[in-house]
Amino acid sequence: MWAINLRILGVVLGTLALYTLIANKIPQVQSEVPHALSLGANVTPEQLATAGDQLYHGAGGCTACHGLGTRAPNLLTDEKGQGPIGSRCGKREAGKDCKAYIYESLTSPKAYVVQGYEPIMPEMGRILSPQQIWALVAFLESNGGTVDVSATDIPAAPAASAAGSPAAASASAGIAGGSADPMTIIRGAGCTGCHTVNGEGGKIGPDLTHVGARLSANLIRESILLPDAKTAKGYEKFKGVMPKTFGHQLTGEQLEALVQFLASHK
């Protein structure tokens, strides 16, 4: 009986050892945590780009798609003869400079899906802090272009929230530097990537030029905060495209300014 027990033990231990050995022989990749950045007022473009480089190749998870040439556009190398991202970002959207384009592509990626690719990129505002996002912008600009991100673009790092979330940390920063001008907010939030306002913007979402004639201020507010709660007729297939993050990206003042501005457009 002891011989049988020993043989069984040998089979069990041998099988476990084999699986453990194989799993230890393959490349060991650990998923890193994006470390919080504390950028001072004197941060240089080089420091920003270096921090962005680390995020891009590490905890940001960007390389899982970008650079393979199949899931998402190449950013650090040539993309269909247009050069790396830093050299082409300023030409992607009319009237939008490189910095704004990259920033909005990170925070509202579904508004800037490159032709031939699926809208698979997550909203990085849910994953990274504003400091981290600006560091990524600087790094991407540095690939073929000029870094023009400066400390003034970056909101001060707020105190850590109870949940420790970077997205929570962005709540008080607001969009477009906290501007109260509705059109600046609309452009800063990337609304015109999909919506037309006063003849400006895209046609993916409903035209907002006369939205006040169709929706009350309360419904407009709800549509900004919970975009999937009600979908405009004819736009059902785009349900889920609009970011749900404006509730914690806009300040209270900005939200109200935006709602009143749109409600007055009858």
Partner: protein
């Protein structure tokens, strides 16, 4: 529980566990609890099906088999509860912020969970201790219904626990870090994206696991048997366990596809992290384990054909089945997109290998696994038919139709596999449904035909239960270890794709253990958990043996194949 929540509410800090750290402590406790939970959920399904076959097929052996396993369940329930209590202590003391958050949302369901666990335990006591009292006539049916009730309690308990862990993976999208957990409706949290796919996946997985553990138990008793009769009984039991495990395993990938699709639909980046990001190598290991399962399961059947008179007719086919299985396993194990550094990418000439890259895509992998399933089903079919000669006049035509069904199913699988290379990804994903449909249709219709053809079949001799070489029994052990290890690996994949989030994009893990470890570390943890679990299961089996009296019921009917 209220005290634990109160403690969590007031403190809300992380604490560390001595020596091995908080993550390892919770990992081991949760994993072993889950393994026991799978055991006490899978084996009752096995037991109630066996008792039903015993009642309606009037075969006492199945009744004895069912009772034998229900006795083991009594001890296994205690082990499940002990490890579950340990897990609650660990979470409530080491991860207080997370525990406070979860109890705030899921508190009522935790009470229900505890109550149902009590109901389940008492139903089990009634089921086991009433076995001999309610043995005949209508009372036996009532007893069988108790077994069904036991499974219903168990399934609800699992569904409740699944809602907690799936919420951590895929919280509803309107919940943000600012959302107070007190304002989240419990049903809204439960009905998250992956709740039902995980429920179904685990339900099937538990049946596989239950069958594998039964197989291991039977193989141990076979090797330790002192009489021919005992050896015959445990040989038969091992076969039944392997049959159930392999049959459920064939369905499991389809539930896995559903779960994977839901993850992608919820958050593409989560899906990409799982399949193509830092976890991409995990699927190579999984492919290796599945290959071991298919090869070992088939090997057991092929060796088993040695004890079936008339099986010589089919032996020449086994080498071709082996070729299909090995090629299929190699294709399935071919990596596609790997995280590589610039030096590795340059050496490979790109992100994909120039030759093998073509085999690493889902088109090739789906084709390979579907052909492996077909080959395994063919092995079962040959085993079933080994000792009979069909006498129905249309037997030859029927066999040709069966052969044609195999060829058509394989052709459909190959056609969509090759065509998948020339279409968009979104179209290609849909092709897997046609491939799976063809294989399932083949399995169903060929089985129906086979049952009809076997009517009144002439026997070429009874199966000589007990005449199995010992090596076949060690194969059953390898199956049990591999199933358990695979469960640990898939648990790591499911939990690990949350990365540094307790609750995906809602609550961040800010402990020193927030980074998701590499596969090497995970493998050591999984092996440790499997070893602890199997040691405890071995102890339970030993206790079961101590409690067992000589209750051997000699078989009064010729041992049939399962499914005859």
């Amino acid at each position: 529980m209220m005290i634990l929540q109160a403690v969590a509410d007031t403190a809300r800090t992380y604490r560390d566990f001595p020596v091995i750290g908080s993550r390892a402590a919770v990992w081991i406790t949760a994993e072993i609890h889950l393994m026991f939970a799978a055991f006490v959920l899978g084996v009752p399904i096995f037991a109630v099906v066996a008792e039903g076959i015993g009642i309606f097929g009037k075969d006492q052996r199945y009744d004895r088999l069912s009772k034998e396993f229900t006795r083991l369940l009594l001890i296994a329930y205690s082990a499940t509860a002990i490890w579950g209590a340990l897990l609650v202590f660990m979470l409530s003391t080491l991860y207080q912020p997370l525990w406070a958050y979860l109890t705030r949302i899921f508190g009522p369901s935790m009470w229900l969970y505890a109550a149902l666990f009590l109901f389940e335990s008492f139903t089990l006591y009634l089921y086991y201790y009433g076995w001999d009292r309610w043995k005949y006539g209508r009372s036996k049916i009532v007893h069988w219904c108790l077994g069904i009730l036991l499974n219903i309690w168990g399934t609800i308990v699992m569904f409740i626990a699944d809602s907690w862990l799936t919420y951590m993976m895929t919280p509803p999208r309107d919940i943000t870090p600012e959302t107070s957990p007190a304002t989240i409706k419990i049903w809204h949290a439960i009905m998250n994206h992956t709740w039902m796919p995980i429920n179904i996946h685990r339900l099937i997985g538990n049946v596989v696991f239950g069958g594998a553990i039964v197989g291991a138990y039977a193989s141990y008793r076979f090797l330790a048997a002192r009489t021919e009769e005992e050896r015959a009984h445990y040989d038969w039991m091992g076969y039944v366990g392997n049959f159930i495990a392999m049959s459920a395993l064939i369905v499991l990938p389809f539930a896995g596809y559903w779960l994977g699709r839901e993850i992608y639909q919820y958050d593409q980046s989560m899906g990409i992290t799982m399949m193509g990001g830092f976890m991409s190598w995990l699927w190579v290991i999984q492919a290796f384990l599945i290959a071991v399962l298919f090869l070992t399961g088939n090997y057991y059947l092929w060796v088993g054909m040695g004890r079936i008179p008339g099986s010589e007719r089919y032996r020449p086919y086994t080498k071709w089945l082996l070729v299909v299985l090995v090629i299929g396993a190699l294709v399935w194990g071919t990596p596609h997109t790997m995280i590589a550094d610039s030096r590795e990418l340059a050496a490979m000439g790109g992100s994909h290998h120039p030759l093998l890259g073509a085999l690493g895509v889902m088109s090739a992998k789906n084709t390979a696994v579907n052909l492996m399933i077909l080959a395994t089903f063919l092995s079962f079919l040959l085993y079933r038919r080994a000792n009979i000669r069909q006498v129905v006049p249309w037997a030859q035509t029927g066999t040709r139709i069966q052969g044609a069904m195999f060829v058509i199913a394989a052709a459909i699988v190959l056609f969509f596999g090759i065509r998948g290379y020339f279409v968009e990804a979104i179209v290609r994903i849909g092709y897997s449904v046609y491939q799976v449909g063809a294989v399932l249709a083949c399995i169903i219709f060929v089985t129906i035909l086979d049952v009809l053809m076997a009517r009144g079949a002439q026997s070429l001799g009874a199966i000589q239960w007990g005449k199995m070489p010992p090596r076949s029994q060690y194969a059953l052990f390898i199956l049990a270890v591999t199933f358990t290890w695979l469960m640990g690996l898939m648990g790591f994949a499911r939990s690990g794709i949350r990365q540094h989030w307790h609750i995906w994009q809602v609550m961040q893990d800010t402990t020193p253990y927030a980074a998701t470890p590499a596969l090497g570390y995970a493998a050591i943890m999984i092996s440790t958990c499997v070893l602890i679990f199997l040691s405890l299961v071995g102890f339970i089996f030993w206790l079961g043996g101590l409690a067992e009296k000589s209750t051997f019921v000699p078989s009064t009917v010729e041992a049939p194949h399962v499914g005859h």
